[in-house]
Amino acid sequence: MKLNNKILLGNLILSVVIFLLTAIGMYFLVIDTVYDELDNHLLQHKMDIIEQVQGEPESLKEIQKLGGLGSYEWVDISIYEGRAKESTNYYSTLDTTRSADDETLETYRRLASVITVDGNEYSIEIYEEVAAWQNISRTILLSVLAGLLIWILMLYMVNQIVFEKILTPFYKTVDTLESILNPTDFNEQFPESTTFEINVLNEALNTMMGQIRTSFEDQKKFIQNASHELLTPLSIIRQKAEKILSNSDQLDRQTVETANEIQQTAVRLSRLSNALLNISRVENKQFVLNEQVDIRAVTTEALDELQDFFSLKNISLEKEFCAELLVLGNKELIHSAIYNILQNAVKFSPEKSKITITITTGAGQNKIVVADEGPGIPEELKKSLFDRFKKGNRHINELGQDNGNGLGLSLVKSICKLHGFSYKAENKNGAGAEVTLIF
């Protein structure tokens, strides 16, 4: 849920709760006030009557007559027969009808009391209809609540506008962050804002982005420098050894062989450092992944490059290529991943065996599978096959030779990670290994 919606929803819930509590409270308060007022009114009425009859006792009859005429308010006076204290007032609310003809009950408030006129005690009951008062109180209640409701709605709308306005820079920051694919490609600055917190946030982000960029640049420079600084001296070693070898006629055999070993080691070392630098470059995301790469074409290209090895080892090739498979990525890298997998397959294939390459498409099934008939993946290597410098010792012994620097599949791994491909290697049921890349 978005932040401003969350705040608005919180406000709304709180407002509604307050509104309901106020409504209930108001209701009881108003009712209470109405009855208090009614009772006051009735008492005043009684006092008026007492005052009247004490001045002119003979007017009691007239009051009796007139008082009985009212319909909203009337007075019943009769001879009192019980014994009660004169001053006691009994209030009660009752539903009754004014006359026998009326069918609907109305709510009335009654004051029952006893008065003494000329030594005679009379019971007096004063009635007053509640409905009129209730109407007034309901009107008051409704208008107050309506006002409150309008206030809440307006508050909601105003909040929305204000939040929208205040939170806009924040959302801009969030959107920008969301749009960053690669921190190094990001050259914008997060803008200044009038809100303190957003300013702090944006400044912190600017600093961090700057640091990421600098360290990335540093690393990139380091990789370039390291490769340059390593490869130039290696170049010299190689060429000096080569120079010795080019005059091999005049040298004894041991010198020639030693120079040859020096040269081979220099070459291996330079390839090793190239491979490591390549992996670092991939892991540092120094490649652009925006090419449409035709997997079939890339595979065919890699096969062409390895054609010599296939034919010299008499390896037959079985290709099952589906319809066109295009993948978004870096062509050079994908080529090099497929090349490495194929080279491995050739390397471990015995003479006159078969290598099967399958390319299939389908939802989540865009993949290339390379299967060989070699010795398969040794048990101790299964987990770490794609890690750096892992190679099977048993393998080397069986084939009687070292097979490269063990960085090939590690490069495949980092290329796959960069592109978001998955990879796996397993042993087939019969014999041989099977490497799969899922795009």
Partner: protein, 227 residues
């Protein structure tokens, strides 16, 4: 022919100079961008070997200057920055070839020969040793006017040896020349042997028995008695 070597590493610079002198070039050398710039602005060279990673400037800028002043100068880029972008940029700016360090001298020699022949449109694009004739432009080899049926790899091996005649070519340099540096070295060396066996068989069937000499444990050499 005049050549300029722009390389900041003195030992390598010296080595390159020796090689080019061997090839009968008149050679100037420099280790800095500034000096290289004044040299290429003043003189016309036939060949420039250009290192991209110079301490006081980018070799690509130098390439622009050279190509602006003397379009016909052949520029071969030497670099330890194995980045493809550099290679592409260099070729776009008009460099004629590109070699990643560390390279074999034989490779450089072969490239220089090929590039110079292409650049100066030498008509007979064929090289011959004894009665062996090889066309540099397309896959055609003949011995004593009889065409030899060679595979592409065999053609490449032969061409490489011929462009480097009388020099020992190590198997590792040969493997790099044919398959590039991507292929595992130890893995590929055995394949050189089998290719060489086939090639020799074809040559001896055509009558050229002892043309390719084996330098034991190291590589091969194509001897020419014509000097």
């Amino acid at each position: 022919m005049r050549a300029l070597i722009v390389e900041d590493e003195p030992l390598l610079n010296e080595e390159l100079k020796e090689q080019l002198l061997d090839e009968k070039f008149i050679v100037d050398t420099t280790e800095t961008f500034q000096q290289a710039r004044s040299l290429v602005e003043a003189e016309e060279y036939d060949l420039v070997l250009l290192d991209l990673g110079l301490p006081d400037g980018n070799g690509l800028d130098l390439l622009k200057i050279i190509k602006k002043n003397y379009e016909d100068t052949v520029v071969v880029i030497l670099t330890a920055r194995g980045e493809v972008e550099d290679k592409v940029k260099g070729l776009e700016l008009g460099s004629d070839d590109y070699l990643a360090k560390p390279f074999a001298m034989a490779e450089l020699r072969a490239r220089i020969h090929a590039v110079l022949r292409r650049r100066f449109k030498i008509n007979e694009n064929e090289i011959s040793i004894d009665k062996l004739l090889l066309n540099l432009n397309h896959m055609a080899v003949s011995y004593a006017n009889k065409a030899l049926d060679v595979t592409e790899t065999e053609y490449k091996i032969l061409r490489y040896l011929m462009l480097n005649k009388n020099k020992t070519i190590t198997r590792i340099a040969l493997s790099e020349h044919i398959w590039g540096s991507k292929v595992d070295d130890r893995f590929s060396l055995d394949f050189i042997n089998s290719h060489m066996k086939n090639l020799r068989k074809k040559l001896s069937e055509a009558g050229a028995k002892t043309l390719i000499e084996t330098v034991y444990g190291v590589g091969y050499k194509l001897e020419s008695n014509e000097a």
